[in-house]
Structures are given as C-alpha cells and as structure tokens.
Point group: C2
Chain length 312, copies 2
C-alpha cells in the first residue's frame, strides 16, 4: 500500500514526495525522466518509505503491470507536458503527454480499483477572461493545447469519478516557482542576463501579470485539499492573492543579481507567445473557506525562486 506519484521525479512531484514522506505516507514515485531527474529524489533513495520506478505512462500495458503488482491507496497524477510554449507548435505533445497519460492512469484506477485520484490541473483550462477564475462557473475555453489537454483530462476524471466511485481532487495550479524548476521565465531571464548583463529582451510588452505560487506552498495545499475536501469530485484553485508582472520579475532578478542600469527592451504585443494567457486572477474563496492560504505572495515566491537558481 502507498501513494503513487506520477511525475514523481519532477519539479513539483519530488516536493510532493518529500511532504508525503514527512507526513508518514509510503510513496512510489513513477517518472520517465524526460523532464524529471534522479537528482530531485536522490536524497530519498535510502528512505524505506520511498520507491522509484522509471516508466513512461504512455504505455498502458506496462502501466497495468505496475498496478497489478502494487496496491495503491491513491494516485497523485502530476506527470504531463510542462512546457506550454514548446507544445504550441505541435498539438500532439499535449494530446499524448498531458491527456492520454491521464486516461491511461484513470483506466488503471478503474481496472485495479484504486478509488482516490488527485490531479494536477492548471489555470490554463479557463482560457482568456477578464473575470476572476472561479471553479464552478468557468468559463472553460482554453486557448493553448496544454490547457485543452488538462481540461480534456478533467472531463474524463469527472466521468470516471461518477461511473466508478473514484473520489477525485482536481487542483488547478497557477504559475509555480521554486527549487528544482527546470524552465520558465525566471530561468530565461537569468540565462540572458548572464550572457549580457547590460540589457534584457522581454517577450511581449512586459505587462503580462499572473499569480506565482511557491512550490512548497503548492504541495502543502495539494495535500491539504486531499485531506480536507471529501466530495466525490472536488475541484479547487490553488493560488495566491496577488499577481506580479513580467517587468517586476525582471526587476527582482536584476536586484538579486546585483545588476544596475539594465536596459529592458520589449518585443511588443500583449502576450509572450501564442496560447499564453497574459493576465489572470484567481477567485480563491473556495480554498480559503477550506482553511488554506499561501504563506508567500507572488513577489516573495519569485524572489525565493530566483535565489535558489542563483545559488546553484
């Protein structure tokens, strides 16, 4: 018995493994190591409550064998494509890695009677709207293939929950930053500034403004929702109250790198790339009512994450 984390060697999955083990759960981390790394979980290799299996979720028959050989109390399904920008030129990436992987795991839960399923979803399921994103009332009109893959996965989770009494938690993440992240705007900017500390080219007009959650806040929230919400199908936004603009992220990075008088230039346009949702804001009433609030604001989360990248 134990908890299966798919994507368990990845950025968020490995933090979740740490937290679950700290709370005395047995954890099996499954990862194909395409984005995740052994480095992220090496500190757990000697822990009796931890086991790692290298496997690609796209192979349903092999996945069935793992479910046949192990009894899982719950699955935390985090494995997915995690680069919205890359998949914008090839919709097949999110079909395969975001949607079909979820369907394969759901099928295994149905066939091997695992009745607790936690899903890492995303603000990207909502698409572009000026309204604060609200769980039950949407709208749900994704503009990226990544958002579509996540919403398509949510659709089947809903049906599997009702058809098979699989208690499910759909948790919609904002941008997530912190130790072990491999890509994103922070990495891009730091990389560019290391090459040229005099200037920084910023995609879009720099006014893209989003909530950023610190990864340790996020995994605490995932586990909190899992332990406290007990409907058959539970859907929760996880986020922070404030947002930070790309321009302000650039300023924090320059401060932390002790760079002065960096010239910012902008490629222009409202979004950084096609499929990007340049501004959004969560309605967090539901998770706040459940008793959870993030410890770090967007600005604090970004600063912590920048320090962790620079310290490496």
């Amino acid at each position: 018995m134990g908890i299966l984390i798919t994507g368990g060697a990845g950025f968020i999955g490995s933090h979740l493994a740490d937290l679950l083990i700290a709370q005395k759960y047995d954890v099996i981390a499954l990862d194909n190591l395409s984005l995740g790394t052994k480095e992220n979980i090496r500190h757990l290799f000697n822990n009796k409550k931890f086991r790692f299996i290298q496997k690609d979720l796209r192979h349903l028959d092999e996945l069935k064998n793992i479910f046949r050989e192990n009894q899982f109390d719950a699955v935390f399904h985090l494995a997915a494509n995690s680069d919205i920008r890359d998949s914008a030129i090839n919709p097949g990436i999110d079909l395969e890695n975001t949607f079909m992987t979820t369907w394969n795991v759901l099928e295994c839960c149905r066939l091997f009677e695992v009745d607790r399923f936690v899903f890492a979803s995303s603000s990207a399921v909502y698409g572009k709207t000026t309204r604060a994103l609200t769980e039950e009332t949407g709208p749900l009109c994704p503009v990226s293939y990544y958002g579509a893959g996540k919403l398509a996965a949510e659709s089947f989770i809903s049906a599997y929950a009702f058809m098979n009494n699989i208690r499910s938690w759909i948790i919609r993440f904002p941008n997530v930053v912190g130790e072990r992240a491999t890509h994103g705007v922070l990495h891009d900017f730091i990389q560019k500034l290391k090459s040229d500390p005099k200037q920084l080219i910023i995609l879009g007009d720099g006014n893209q403004k989003k909530p950023y959650v610190y990864v340790r806040d996020l995994v605490e929230a995932i586990l909190y929702v899992y332990q406290k919400a007990d409907a058959l199908l539970n859907c929760y936004n996880i986020g922070v109250d404030d947002q930070i603009s790309v321009k302000d992220i650039a300023k924090i990075i320059c401060e932390e790198m002790l760079l002065e008088d960096v010239v910012f230039t902008y490629t222009g346009g409202e979004t950084g790339w096609k499929g990007d949702v340049s501004r959004y804001q969560y309605n967090l009433k539901k998770i706040n009512s459940l008793g959870w609030k993030a410890e770090y604001s967007s600005g604090e989360a970004v600063r912590l994450a920048v320090r962790s990248i620079l310290s490496k």
Copy 2:
C-alpha cells in the same frame, strides 16, 4: 469546395445533408456506416451537389488524404459514438469514437487550413445539476464517458480555434428524435410493446424528464447558428422550452399504437442506467436572442417520431 459532414449517413447527419443541399451548398458526406446507412442518403445519390465517401475517422493518415484531395469550406463534425448506455461499460468507446475522431478532424483542419468547424456536442457535457444548463457558466462535470468525450473534444476545439484562427461553433444538443433514428427510448418501448402489448417495463422510476427536439428543428438550428453567430468560438445550447417524462413518452406511444390498459412497471431508481442524467433543463436565452426557437415542443417531437417509427 463544399461542406464536409462527418457522420453524414447517420441519423442527424443525413438530415443536415438534406438541408444544406436544399440551401444550395455542395456536400461531401463521410461515414464509416457503423451506425449510419446508405438508406439514409440514397435519395441524394443522383444529386450533383452530393458526394459520399465511406471512411473511418479513426485512421488519421487516410483522413489526411481526403483533406489533401478535397478543399472544404467547412466541416460539420457529427460522427461519434451515439449510444451512451452501451459505452457505459467500456470507456474506450468514447475515447476512440467520440474524442479521438474529433482530434483527428481538427488536426486535418489545422494542416489543410480549413477554417470553419462545427461540432455536434451534447447536454451530457454538463453532468448532473439542478440549475438550468447555461453555456458559459456550466458547471461542466460530465457523469458519462460520452459526456466526457464530448467535453474533451470541446476543449481541443477551443484551443485549435484560438491557435489557428479556426472559427468554431460548438452546439450542445438535447435528446433528438425523428425519422432515421436507430435507437433510444422510443424504439425500446415500441419494440417491447410489439412483443407484449399488455405491459411495459420502464427503466428507473419513469420520472426522468428531459427536453426532446425534433431532428428537423435541430438541423435548422445548427445551420442557423452557423450562419448567424460570428465569434471565433461560438457555443450554443439547442433545445426546446419544455421537457417530457419517460412515463409520458410511454403514454404517447400507447396512444399512437392504439393500446389501452397497458400496465407500466418500473425497475426503480432515479436513473435508467449509470451515467444517465435523469432530469435537465436548458437555459435557451442565447439561441433565442439570436432569433431561433424550435417549432415543435418535446411532446410534439416525440409524437412525430413515434408516428415515423410506426409507419415503417
């Protein structure tokens, strides 16, 4: 040039072909004839504005050839699994026939630059709720694999629309009845009463109550929305204002079969089968504001459909 109807030899697709041809469009009907029949379109075979291609949408490479060889102005994508009850025991049916077929057609639209896409969706995307089903505010929590397949398809349509400027119309149907239907509660009851005109066993408690639209009303509405709504992504419920209960459907059938004193017995429970949404009601403000209203009520639609079945 012309309009491609997938599922064009099916119950609804063949009526849509009739209407499009009456309105001077060129039509290519594509169907694998698993549920559709040549009988449904035989009257169009000598029409110069009509062409039929037998093909299974699950084979992406073959579908690409069709798009390579033809230039389509628009695709009306109606092909799907159409039996919610049957797929309840095998989620793979709706994954393959409802969702993946849609993804394949979307891919062809993207690759061969077809920029108008009309999708036959369903009330099943909403799931169970006591609220009147409303396009933008959901909730969207399907309880059947069929509903999940349709919502997953909608998710990718939304992303493909925004990523590739494919103007899209998502149209959510209620129960549909009329000439050329092949299955459903009307057929079941008539079949049973022909075997035993003294009694009728009704699944559930008989109080399941849903809107039923007459198929000719429906295809008119599809074309109306296509011609009048011009956002990049247009989502509309099509339905009727009233609902009819399963018990009242049984009464209409007995009347039309001239049967008296039939004893109704009920298997009990709120729903006829797992995954069934036993009661729902549409909010039709959006399509009414666009200027469309059904000609026939639920009761009238059912009576017309029953007469057409009995006259065969």
